[in-house]
Symmetry: C3
């Protein structure tokens, strides 16, 4: 039995807004809970447990009637709050007949769900992905279903030296592995910052910059527990002031990532690559989304094989190098959330 590796009291992305189409029902798994999602006639996203109160038939196999979800097997109907509002062949409804509903917040193009204590589900706590619908930024992303612990994806993103080896032909660069990064953290975030001065640009960034000459390159990784990471990445012509704060002679992107545990060994990875240059250029947006999707497939190949190797060696510890300072702190913040959930009555020091 694997110990639950994810906190429940957190907002988790469960779908892109566009994935949840009106009139359709979406079945997803979030933190070991199977969920049926749909939109009311007013457009509000709702989520309920994906098992009929009666005989456990998954409600995601049912159909919508107005704002209600109707079970495909015996026609029990449930409203957006999860209350049963119709039973077959009987007038009087059991007043306890309901399925659990979950708090939902739709923000930054994503539908977020709170699998834990509903009373604590404060929409202000939705992770910061504001670049996804900020008019100053433009880009797009995808959803990846990965067969690995969501924390392996976090490890991957918190240490970008792997780009040198895993993504050698696109964004990798030997400079990444030899340039030390600076890791800082507080109670609610971890930041890893690496500046590479006056280097040759890797193919991806050379194309984005569209100019010859060496560059200054930056990677600023910010982790927000339990599973959101925003990468501030870019290059500028070497010596034009990027290291001092002037990025005007460069190109700048954000890679937005949030990784939702489905089970202890699977996850849904939502990502978007956005930029603040060449806005309104849909061809570039599509090219960047496709290029990034190819890069993330290289990560998938590593992460899923790593998970299998971990599963084949129960109890064997992962070891840490200097490069793992970021992931080490990220896991500590996650472990802190888990510890607080295990001891709910302890007064939290803040």
């Amino acid at each position: 039995m694997v110990e639950r590796p994810f906190p429940l009291n957190a907002w988790y992305a469960v779908a892109w807004g566009h994935e949840l189409r009106k009139g359709e029902i979406l079945g997803r798994t979030v933190c070991d809970a199977k969920i049926a999602l749909w939109r009311t006639s007013a457009g509000a996203a709702v989520a309920v447990e994906d098992a009929c109160w009666h005989r456990l038939m998954p409600l995601s196999h049912g159909r919508l009637e107005g704002d209600s979800l109707v079970c495909r097997y015996h026609g029990l109907a449930f409203d957006a709050s999860g209350r049963c509002v119709r039973m077959p062949s009987q007038e009087k409804l059991n007043p306890n007949a309901c399925v659990r509903s979950y708090p939902i917040a739709e923000k930054h193009r994503l539908v977020w769900m709170w699998p834990g204590d509903a009373a604590a589900a404060d929409p202000a706590l939705v992770p910061d992905w504001h670049w996804a619908d900020d008019p100053e930024w433009e880009g797009d992303g995808e959803t990846l279903a990965l067969n690995c612990d969501y924390r392996l994806v976090i490890d991957n993103l918190m240490d970008l030296t792997h780009e040198t080896f895993v993504h050698a032909t696109s964004i990798g660069h030997s400079a990444i592995a030899v340039t030390p990064a600076k890791t800082t953290h507080d109670e609610r975030s971890v930041t890893v910052e690496r500046w590479m001065a006056d280097i040759d640009a890797p193919p991806f960034w050379r194309t984005q910059l569209g100019r010859p000459g060496n560059v200054d390159r930056w990677q600023i990784i910010r982790f927000e527990p339990p599973c959101t990471i925003v990468l501030d990445v870019g290059v500028a012509l070497a010596g034009t002031g990027a290291l001092q704060g002037d990025r005007s002679q460069g190109v700048n992107g954000r890679v937005l990532n949030t990784i939702t545990p489905a089970t202890a060994r699977t996850c849904m990875y939502f990502w978007s690559l956005v930029r603040n240059y060449r806005l309104r250029d849909q061809t570039l947006t599509t090219q960047l989304r496709q290029a990034n999707a190819r890069i993330f497939e290289e990560d998938r190949a590593v992460l899923e094989v790593q998970q299998q190797a971990i599963d084949a060696r129960p109890g064997q510890a992962l070891r840490n190098l200097n490069i793992d300072a970021g992931s080490l702190w990220a896991r500590r913040l996650i472990d802190g959330m888990l510890a607080r959930e295990r001891e709910p009555h302890q007064v939290e020091q803040s």
Copy 2:
């Protein structure tokens, strides 16, 4: 570990008579037992444990020599009683060398097997499927392998309100879900009876009746434990006396069902749809068999998904509505059989 959900002292259908062809060996699983079936030269069906006494090689991979089954690996031969009658390279046979044989009864077009105490295997106890070879009735059926507990199929058949939702385009009708059914039971059967007076006929029955006008429709479900259900179903022109017993202005069918547990989570479902009108019409027989097969595929889609949902929620109870009175009593009769098998020495009160 799942507790065994099926009694062993009962006749279970293991094959259609025509599925067990002379000269061939059939491997099947019945109540967790792997079985090799064949016919002797006289045509008698026989069943033995599907594992050679010597090194457990499945005998169903072997070949027939006269009335004996010869193991494919080392050539040990077993007669119809399961006794080893030949060993390689030795004249003297171990007198204990045998595989278990099982009582068989061939009746109503099916081959039935008794997996429990052979001394109790009374052929008079074979379930009543007599319509299958009654010259007054005609029809045909099929075998479905389902990935679900056999009791979910019984639940399905004992409550036909599901036709409204699962089979909306063929035999479903909103009248089924709103018309109460009457459930009766005794020690050896459960009956659920529903009469719908003066309703519009659903497509399937409209075609069978071949006449316009509202109908009276009936569904009389009879369960014989542990796993046989006969549906007496039909429609007659409304008001022509069907409710009072005169079905002459209608069409009448029997859906014969018997569901054999293979394991706790899989079963073989044998069914036949027979009618007492338009006999000798093979085209109609084929059409009805195909139409019913399509309907049962709709059930399969529900039942297998329901089983997965149950497995994902160990310990979570199924809940009952008014419509579940029939399945509730069916499960009580099954549970009674199981309880008697667990306490074999107790004197049964009858």
Copy 3:
């Protein structure tokens, strides 16, 4: 939990020499250990544990740099002894950073690995497969991955009566099953010898002999624990002295077999069929290899089904006939090795 059925202190074939190509990395599983194999620039075969010291990424997914294996994920490099010789972003290496390396011996066209105590890995103990590269003999073989306990393959080879039933159309002959075999054994081998005088030749041997007339046929099986079996097989014209030691009027082959446990339920089966007639005839070599491969596919069909049957009946013993004397003694020698590994401090009586 299955008890480990293979000794660790033994040489196991892990690849054909030609399978381990310079510049490539081979991932294999031997005795439950996942292994990465490669060749140094000098051509020496080396084997290390297939999991990076850092985060367990399988090293067989990495790449070679000179004599070092470089992890695909973060670029840690390991030398042929398993010592880590490079880490990303840090000058100072953890002196404990290493992966386990295994003793290797390359002999008789195979690469052999010792999964147990390295101090005991004496190259003189490599099993005798010398016919594989003896200039007086010629032939070729293949590698089969089988889903069964390696001991089932040994049982199969130690009792060739199965040829009568499993290989009826090629090398089988009813004489095998009726002719008794003589089994002898000592501390380090088991021999089963069967001579069939003046019989009709089966199709395979008739073709090899290329002459009409009855034959004397021999099968001399020699087992060397834990998993190597050499078959001395052939036919000679009947009555020309083969039984007395003169095989000059016949054809003679060796079937070389060594079966490496991958897990308790899977194995790699290396075999080669060599002959001492018509040397330098590559067409015949290819024909014989292909013919033998077809025969071994017939064995695979039996062995994998037998394994499934065994797994379905935990705790049920396999029974022995007279024909099983050879496999019985082979298993006793294996059990002796296992017992000695469980009690390492006991002084061995020899």
